[in-house]
């Protein structure tokens, strides 16, 4: 399923989506793909929020069965015939997933989905929100149709500058704001922005947004609206808490613990350069001859340029070998076998650099909501002879 040239751009599939049987297999969980022994980390029992354990970050594609899950609100029922309404200047289209694939070209992108709050628990001082470790991320192939094709088919209104997005999930009571987001029109028309119906070649599962979700490669998870049920091109950005207050970052770096005025905040869009070590895990005991550092590295802002590994706590660094196609918003695997590591305690660290020269800091800059942590991932291991 990986794109040959590796760019996070769509690959055209001429064959029509096979309506019918594929969606009949849609399920609430990805459990039918799960293998015995596969685990997830339960961040919340309701709504269901799950983190991917670190050892799964040793491959290019994260299996759906162990792919993290984040939902703000109670999940809607599984409805393979749920419709997406596309409101335009010429017409309003109402299509289910089958209809989307009948009318529009099928496209596949490979991209990282990362929650804005991934690794929030590492911010100091702590801030409210799900206290994720590093497991709120994964890479999948996403198959669907281009959002731009849908919007153009319905007709773009004059003066449109943003695209408003609504999912079918509803807050537990009407006094709680709905999860309404918008993305700038240019980003909506980008050929990599798709309404996906499949993940890793199989129908989306309910927890991953079935039957339709948005994919915005390189942008943080709040833009990847699940259970997508309405889109509209319009002049203004979205109103409401989840756009005007939530998911905002200070325009300038601030001191940890600062209060930041709303006028000094701006919407969070892309995720910065980072790497995560899949193995060895923290606390591992590894024979010197078997010590190999494996993980993933990516950025939503530029292509990956380099991954370095340290086995002395960040004093000296060696470049790691990379595998997989490079691209904006997609990850590559890195591997490194350090030579001559002496038995004893070893502090392993990884840091990545992007093609614009942005390099992972040891400690991520703090922000009031604990978004986009990207500090070095460091693990302590004991090396034996």
């Amino acid at each position: 399923m990986l794109d040959g040239d590796g760019l996070a751009r769509p690959t055209m599939r001429r064959r029509r989506f096979l309506a019918g049987g594929t969606f009949a297999a849609s399920s609430a969980a990805a459990s039918r793909f799960a293998r015995a022994g596969d685990t997830l980390l339960q961040q919340l029992s309701y709504p269901i929020d799950l983190a991917t354990p670190l050892p799964y970050f040793d491959r290019l594609i994260t299996p759906a069965a162990v792919f993290f899950v984040r939902s703000h609100f109670p999940e809607p029922a599984l409805d393979p015939r749920r419709r997406l309404r596309i409101e335009g200047a010429k017409t309003t289209l109402e299509l289910d997933a089958f209809g989307l694939h009948r009318r529009f070209k099928e496209v596949t992108v490979t991209a990282v989905l990362q929650c804005a709050g991934n690794s929030r628990s590492l911010h100091n001082p702590r801030v409210p929100g799900l206290q994720w470790g590093h497991g709120a991320m994964g890479q999948a192939t996403w198959t669907g149709v281009r959002l731009g094709d849908l919007l153009e088919s319905a007709g773009l209104p004059d003066g449109a500058a943003h695209v408003r997005l609504l999912g079918a999930d509803r807050p537990p009571q009407p006094t709680v704001p709905r999860f309404i987001r918008s993305i700038p029109l240019a980003r909506a028309l980008d050929p990599t922005t798709i309404v996906a119906t499949k993940m890793n070649g199989a129908p989306l599962t309910l927890v991953h947004g079935a039957p339709m979700r948005l994919c915005v490669p390189g942008w943080t998870g709040q833009h990847w609206v699940k259970w997508l049920s309405a889109v509209r091109a319009q002049k203004d950005e979205a109103e409401g808490f989840y756009y005007q207050t939530g998911y905002r970052m200070p325009k300038q770096p601030v001191a940890p613990g600062s209060a930041v005025k709303p006028s000094d905040m701006t919407p969070l869009q892309t995720f910065p350069i980072r790497s995560v070590i899949a193995r060895p895990v923290d606390g591992a005991i590894v024979p010197s001859s078997a010590l190999e550092i494996v993980g993933v590295a990516f950025s939503g802002e530029a292509e990956l340029a380099r991954v370095e590994v340290s086995v002395d706590g960040g004093t000296t660094w060696s470049e790691a070998r990379r595998e997989g196609a490079p691209g904006l918003g997609r990850w590559q695997l890195f591997r490194h076998r350090p030579a001559g590591v002496r038995p004893g305690p070893v502090r392993v660290a990884a840091r990545a650099t992007d093609s614009r020269g942005a390099i992972q800091p040891r400690v991520s800059s703090w922000n009031p909501s604990g978004y986009v942590w990207n500090g070095w991932h460091e693990v302590n291991v004991t090396v034996t002879a």
């Binding site: 339960q42 206290q131 009571q173």
Partner: protein, 230 residues
Amino acid sequence: MRGPAFAFRAFGVSLAFMACDGGRPQGPPPPPARAPSSLPAPPSLAPLTDRDRTEAAALVANDCQACHAPEMLAQQRLTGTQWAAVIKKMQGWGSPLPPDSAALVARYLGALYSPSSVPPAATPFEPKAVAARDAASTLAALPDRRFRGGSAAKGQVIYAAGCAGCHGADATGTPLGVGLTDRPLLYRAAELAAVVRTGRGRMPASPHLSDDDLASLLAYLRRLRPVAQW
């Protein structure tokens, strides 16, 4: 100092377990996951009396955990001031927490889940590992079996009489009861029937409802399919 801190933490754990099953007592609390540390109790604990804790625990179970899983609270490491800000936000969103109880609950949560809690602020929260096969099993549809063939018209009457007061006339929820439209639970008839018959949290039990009554209630609720409204 060590004794009270230990007892309090154990109480917190039992609170979390009660809430997992709708707030009903579950027998003796399990032992705490970690040995009690030798750290003194946080200073903010001192002003809370046993009565305060009992009252605050009940408020949290009834007024927070209808929407928030207990883990949502347990993974936070916030100061009393931060907790007060969180509660103020939730009150703005329609939390049923009585306004004059907000300060008590902020102090209580600030003592339970503070930066000096165990694990300490420097340690990431460690969520429970679950089998991937089971991770989202609570959302999967189940066969209706005994709850087939209900009458939506009859269900509407049952809903209006027994449910609408808290869950809302249109079943989209109120501060006293969560929304029920378009939810996976509507396709898990036996589970929904058990909740209705035995109650959950502040929701009273309705043991008098027959299988046919519940089938009708389900038939009605499944018809309430909201359209996507901005």
